[in-house]
């Protein structure tokens, strides 16, 4: 057996100085040689721990074996049989906490770069359609119809899986494009929108009908869907309601929720204003409040729009930041400044109602709180002001109450999430399933897809019985 190689093939990336001013993808992807080299590190261990770490059950050793053998169509086939959105997952999944964390090599050195290989296979598929077998013919229709509300990763996964089983699926999406957070939240430089649309096209190629501009709760209610053509409804409407700080001055001009800022930049392509019609304020000094992935994305977008200085304002220390390590490092490399142990007290403005500063307290870490992280405590008398002209609040989101308030008989929690069975996604309302961020609160792409897979299986079983 060849000697273990404990170092992974590095990912080619755009230079930080250059990429800080453009919206092109940061990570450039492996070349075929790099992918081959990385795949060859896999020892094909019999225990296959990596596959257990995958929420959608991809046969990871299988597709890597196909890569080792240079059999790309086979790699595509294996990957796609479990994951309808590999180009997305390869880019944004937190592999370091999932499959890669379980890799046998992780005990001794760097785990196999499973995410990067997944991305390589997905990108190869996109540009080599002619080398692939014609897709399997669609199964005969079962005559059953399912309505999927929301076209984020949860909704797309349910739709694809049910269509493959012969059910007729219609997705209702409130916005003018499908993809959910993948389109409006995660920026182009981490997840190119062309890739998302490519994967959406794959789902519609399975016969799924996509109805855009359709806000369920307004244009039809869930009950009306059930009373009309649909035997089952899946709710995958995500957690789209932004939280604010609830401190004085929050309605000043120049203060955005991360959702608004990212929507203007990503979905509406505000970074190309005035070629695109939607404006977005390019701050000179921008503060982003929060320490998660959404905060990192907002800060890096603000920098790319042309801000001189961008700060992350976070009330705990770097160790407690919920953002992925890689994204924190990317942000630091690009010159984002971290103001840690800093908590906003109020926002200051001028007489035109424009924000001019953010007054903050210094914080100290105290005893661990319910989340197990050390709780930040205010240092009395430590107030200071950071000069800013744009502030982005990235504190997280909760589900939009529209669905719950217009659907009879759904159970919700105090946080506004919909109660659903953890194994099947079934809600207490007959004929209605739910999954993704609407159930868990803001989580991950892959957990939303996992929930979608489980719900699809449960809905299929239900439709067969009914």
């Amino acid at each position: 057996m060849a000697k273990l190689n404990l170092n992974r093939e590095p990912m080619p990336r755009q230079d930080p100085k250059v990429r800080g001013r453009n919206f092109n993808e940061v990570a450039l992807g492996y070349t075929p040689e790099q992918a081959q080299a990385e795949a060859s590190r896999c020892i094909q261990c019999p225990k296959r721990p990596c596959a257990e770490g995958c929420p959608v059950g991809v046969d990871i050793p299988g597709f890597i074996k196909a890569l080792q053998d240079g059999n790309m169509p086979e790699a595509v086939k294996i990957l796609k049989s479990k994951n309808s959105l590999p180009g997305i997952c390869g880019r944004v999944c937190p592999q370091e906490m999932q499959c890669e964390a379980k890799c046998s090599l992780a005990k001794k050195g760097a785990p196999i770069a499973i995410g990067r290989l997944e991305r390589f296979v997905a990108d190869w598929e996109r540009t080599n359609q002619e080398a692939l077998d014609a897709p399997a013919p669609l199964p005969q229709s079962t005559g059953k119809q399912v309505a999927v509300v929301g076209s984020g990763p949860a909704g797309l996964t349910v739709a694809a899986d049910l269509a493959k089983l012969g059910h007729r699926v219609t997705i209702f999406e409130a916005l003018h494009v499908a993809g959910g957070v993948l389109m409006y939240g995660i920026p182009e430089f981490r997840l190119p929108k062309g890739i998302v649309q490519n994967e959406v096209n794959y789902v519609t190629s399975l016969g799924v009908e996509l109805k855009l501009d359709s806000v369920i709760g307004k244009i039809s209610t869930v009950d009306e869907l059930l009373d009309s053509d649909y035997q089952a409804v899946f709710l995958g409407t995500g957690a789209g309601l932004p939280m604010f700080l609830n401190i004085p001055g929050e309605n000043l001009n120049g203060i955005y929720s991360a959702n608004e800022f990212l929507t203007r930049v990503n979905l509406m392509k505000g970074y190309r204003f005035p070629e695109y019609d939607t404006p977005v304020k390019v701050g000179r000094k921008v503060a982003v409040v929060g320490g998660g992935n959404v905060a990192m994305d907002s800060a890096r977008c603000a920098l790319r729009l042309g801000a001189d200085e961008v700060y992350i304002v976070y009330r705990r220390s770097e160790a407690e930041m919920p953002a992925r390590r890689e994204e924190v490092e990317n942000a630091q490399e690009e010159g984002i400044q971290f103001k840690l142990l800093t908590n906003p007290k109020r926002l200051l403005g001028d007489k035109e109602n424009w924000v001019t500063g953010i007054e903050c307290y210094k914080m100290e870490l105290g005893e661990p709180d319910a989340s197990g992280r050390r709780r930040p405590v205010t240092v009395p008398g430590s107030e200071f002001v950071i000069d800013v002209d744009v502030v982005i609040i990235a504190l997280g989101t909760t589900p939009n109450p529209l669905i719950a308030s217009t659907t009879k008989g759904l159970e919700t929690t105090g946080r506004g999430t919909v109660v659903a069975d953890a194994e099947t996604g079934k809600t207490v309302k007959p004929g209605v399933w739910a999954g993704g961020d609407i159930v868990t609160g803001a989580a991950t792409v892959i957990s939303a897809m996992g929930a979608g897979k489980q719900a699809a299986a449960a809905i299929d079983a239900y439709l067969k019985e009914s």
Partner: protein, 278 residues
């Protein structure tokens, strides 16, 4: 894609479109709005539903040319298409039997107020409508609003037609001369603010339809936040109708100016491209 079934120019800068959107037409109610986006590069802008026809499957919107998007919209003709048309959004205007209701419309707001007046009248109210414009050439739908109301008062700022003055003057007189149970005022922010100021001493409940800048119109961005009674509300989902006596008008008007610089740039670019002289 949504087809423009009909275009009418009501006055030089204000246009009516009838848009084919059967699913929206089935659900539309007075006081609701839609979000329209012309094409791939377009902005999402909210417009109130001025009428709907369930049988024809159409929604009528009326818009005034103020900036790049509304100018671009005004280039479209009957038979053309817009890419996106979402609705009906927002909470419908509260319609009930109140007694005597005064509906006040400033400028293009004759359009949104008409279905409200009609619904109030159908609910058994006595409806007195007041419509005002800067001058005679900007008036439209006088007959439509008259037939939706029991009584109509028309004003022009310069006196070029009907009564000279602002809409608040006949409103004040009505409040002084008889018992008014409710006032609904729609129009430019300043006009709504002054209507609310006029009714406040009389303690008459006054509802206004707020028009902050919006993006999605579904409650996911918070761009449309307004302050009502000291509380932050999202106008697109909590409104657009609010108690006019509780609205922080200065905040609303300040937030409407966020993109003044960008709007000017967009309009100039559009004018240059269209070889247009305004």
């Amino acid at each position: 894609m949504y087809k423009i079934l009909l275009r009418q120019d009501l006055v030089p800068d204000i246009h009516l479109f009838k848009v084919e959107a059967p699913a929206v037409a089935r659900k539309a109610q007075p006081g609701q709005f839609i979000v329209i986006k012309i094409d791939e590069k377009g902005e999402r802008i909210p417009l109130t539903v001025a009428d709907w026809d369930e049988q024809e499957g159409s929604i009528t919107i009326i818009f005034m040319e103020v900036g790049a998007t509304t100018h671009r919209l005004a280039q479209l003709k009957g038979g053309d298409f817009v890419e996106n048309f979402v609705g009906p959004l927002g909470v419908p205007t509260h319609i009930d039997k109140f007694g005597t209701v005064v509906c006040v419309a400033g400028g293009f707001a004759v359009a949104p107020i008409k279905p409200i007046a009609r619904a109030l009248k159908q609910a058994g109210n006595r409806v007195i409508s007041i419509m005002g414009a800067r001058n005679k050439n900007l008036l439209f739908w006088e007959d439509e609003l008259r037939s939706a109301s029991d009584q109509l008062i028309v004003t022009t700022d310069d006196g070029s037609y009907a009564r000279k003055g602002l809409v608040t003057e006949p409103l004040q007189e009505l409040l002084e001369s008889e018992k008014i149970d409710r006032v609904i005022a729609i129009g430019p922010s300043l006009m709504m603010k002054f209507c609310a100021k006029t009714t406040e001493p009389f303690g008459v409940k006054t509802f206004v339809s707020l028009n902050p800048i919006m993006v999605d119109g579904t409650g996911m961005c918070g761009c449309c936040r307004v302050s009502v009674g000291g509380e932050t509300k999202f106008a697109c989902v909590d409104g657009p109708d609010f108690d006019g006596h509780q609205v922080d008008w200065d905040l609303l008007m300040a937030r409407q100016r966020i993109y003044l610089k960008e709007e000017k740039c967009a309009l100039e670019q559009w004018q240059a491209q269209a070889g247009h002289h305004s």
